[in-house]
């Protein structure tokens, strides 16, 4: 087995263990650089005004063509150079990767999981050998989600009480679980280990305890665990236990 979730350095982004997380990090670093430049330029102009100009007589001007042009030019520069860049990159990233469920589900070895969020745990359901949800060989876990390394994982999320939000800081993804609907989340881990799953949406007094662990296993280890667990699940299946049958037919969103 691997080690329990490790503490992060403290400051800065938690270390990224996902295939696509770097896309988020790159945008964060780009934005950080851009706002630092903007901040320094504006602060320098202000400090210059405070120190250099304060004693002299004030300039009588409501703004000239040149100074208004400077404002418009600076705004246009930021709008197209920074905001525009963010917009275009994000459109691409969302369509190609973070919200591209079609591609993730079609990928070879893709793992499908149904997760039922409720006060205050995460119940996960894997289809057994039959590949279908809601059958006696479904593997059900609580606050313990296991995935193989290097394969896309597609999660369908539901909630049975209030709104929760599934948040994986080390994989840079998040998705709300909303009662009455099924939402989706996809990610792909690239480093085996144990990572934390957090609830990001206030969901009652024990919101702070709604923590689960994501275990990223080597593909073989994952396959063996799932096969064993499915066997156990089939033996433990109780048709009378309606509470345990919260699964749903895997939802097809795309035609």
């Amino acid at each position: 087995m691997t080690a329990a979730p490790l503490p992060e350095r403290g400051y800065g982004l938690p270390h990224d263990v996902s295939v696509d997380g770097f896309r988020v990090d790159e945008l964060i670093h780009f934005t950080m650089a851009a706002i630092t430049v903007i901040f320094v330029v504006v602060a320098a102009a202000l400090i210059w005004s405070f120190v250099k100009h304060r004693r002299g007589p004030a300039l009588y001007s409501h703004g000239t063509r040149g100074s208004i042009g400077l404002v418009v030019g600076a705004v246009a520069l930021v709008l197209f150079g920074v905001d525009g860049n963010l917009f275009v990159h994000t459109l691409g990233d969302m369509h190609e990767y973070f919200w591209n469920f079609k591609r993730a589900e079609a990928a070879e070895g893709a793992v499908r999981i149904e997760i039922n969020a409720h006060q205050w745990s995460w119940d996960a359901r894997y289809p057994g050998a039959d590949g279908r949800f809601g059958t006696p060989d479904d593997v059900i876990t609580t606050d313990d989600i296991r995935v193989p390394v290097g394969a896309p994982v597609v999660v369908q999320l539901a909630s049975t009480d209030v709104i929760h939000s599934m948040y994986l800081p080390n994989l840079r993804v998040k998705q709300d679980a909303v009662p009455g609907t099924i939402t989706r989340l996809t990610f792909q881990a690239k480093v085996p280990g144990e990572y934390e799953i957090a609830c990001a949406q206030h969901c009652g007094p024990n919101h702070y305890k709604m923590r689960a662990v994501l275990t990223v296993l080597a593909p073989d280890a994952f396959r063996n665990w799932l096969a064993d667990a499915a066997e156990d699940a089939r033996r433990a299946y109780d048709p009378e236990d309606k509470e345990a049958h919260w699964g749903w037919e895997w939802r097809r969103f795309e035609p």
Partner: protein, 597 residues
Amino acid sequence: MSTSAQALAEAAQPIHPPPTSFWRQYVFSIDHKMIAKQFLWAGLLFLLVGGTLAMLIRWQWAYPYRPVPVIGQLFLRENGGVIGPATYQQIFTTHGLIMIFFAVTPVLIGCFGNFLIPLMIGARDMAFPKLNMYSFWTFLLSQLLVLASFLSDLGSAGAGWTTYPPLSTNVGTPGVGQTLVVAAIFVTGVSSTMGAINYVTTVIRMRAPGMGYMRLPLTMWGLWLTAILNALFVPVLGSAALLLLLDRNFGTQFFVAGASAVRGGGDPILFQHLFWIFGHPEVYILILPAWGILGDVIPFFARKPHHWYKGTVWSMVIVTVLSAMVYGHHMFMTGMSPLLGEGFMLFTLLISAPSMVVVLNWVLTLWRGSIRFDTPMLFALATVFVFGVGGLTGLFLADISMDLYLHDTMFVVGHFHFTMAAASFIAAMTGVYFWFPKIFGRKLDERLGKAHFWFTFVGITLVFGGQLLAGYAGQQRRLFDPFQYTFIHGLRGLNRWTSFFAFALFAGQFIFVWNFFRTLFGKAVRAGENPWQVTTLEWTATGSPPPFHNFDRIPEVVRGPHEFSNPEVRRLTGRDFAGQSEVLPGSAGPALAAARG
């Protein structure tokens, strides 16, 4: 000498005798200046309540599970002074609600809106003085409902200030306290709507002769646009609150849905749409008056006309229009249609353009100004700084893919505290220090004011900066004990230091309390009519404090609000400013000046 336009205005707004009875003068007053003071007291009192609640949150993050000194002994005795998870969720819920609806709103909009609108546009009172009085008393009722909620069986509201169902229905928060607070939101909405209708009408109908829209002080633009937003969107919040009350108390299921544990055919996301259609304009409702105040105070103390006044005005108008079209960025993670999300992202990024124009205009107003660093100016400059930080960090959150990581973390908390909490609070302080001489006829002490300034500015930057850092490292919001998570363990020191700075920030506010009461009840030093040597009507056309009827004669406005350092004015008067209705010696009088525009 009076012009025909002035005679018309005088005929429309004759002078009424001031009330003589105590009740009519101080309690059930219809005088906008007295109502403004009532809002100021009510707001400052709740600012103290909201601030105390913030200290409890910070205590919990610095010393989880330890008894709270003093306050714990007073209010949490049955728990040994320790904050429990159920109490904690009430603390952060009511902190947010009180600060937004019952502290900053009454000071920025209730007090300054009421006090300044008639005086700055040259009117004798509001368009509907009685409606104004009802607005205050309705507001007071909503504050009492909030206080009552703390006394109820299961305590006050606990579903977060956003009050998302199903958590805010009986499913998650069955207590009477939550019902009382939702009712308080509804009632305060009624109060805001009444105030907003009054403000909008007053600015449209009662501007003094010559006070065209492009001569309005920017404070007026800010308050007027805010009033328009209030009139349009607070009723949406009211309807959401009403439907939620029906869900809570009458068994309807507008917002209740669920698979098994909770049945119901409603839609929790519907509430979020209603809430944020109001909730995002609300951010601008709080920031537009702040922008307005800065738009006047910065040129006043830089002794320079505002740079590109029309650019700032139109930017504020554009922000007002766009404000309701960006709200979806609060809901990027709800599973909304990607196309819808991308549209909201586009508008959110676009709204940064007018905001940048406003900020750059401040910078260019200061450029080559002859800056006077009095206390109001220090607070105004601090507002520029904190709003700048808040605005820039907003870039991260406008963006869907960065929100995959940052949404619902402390980064969001830091961002909105810099913008709508720090910027609107410091701008409110700018206003308090600046207009105090006009409201009370006395000037606050400058030395104490500057001490208060440094505590506030440095404190706020460190506290909300600490929140940004915690969120950047991934810490979620609203955690009773963040250190349940291993990945947050490294942030213990950061959280504790942020708390220390917060305690210092809170303590520093008592300098202001001391200054406020000392000036008000201590030895009287008259401020004089125009202690800051500025141009707008409330300073140049009436006394401090103004008489009951505001102006002995309704002024006729002849120029814009920021006429500073004009060489021609200096030649004629020897001063570096000219009042908005001032007739310069040797000029042909207001009629001709007005004709020339």
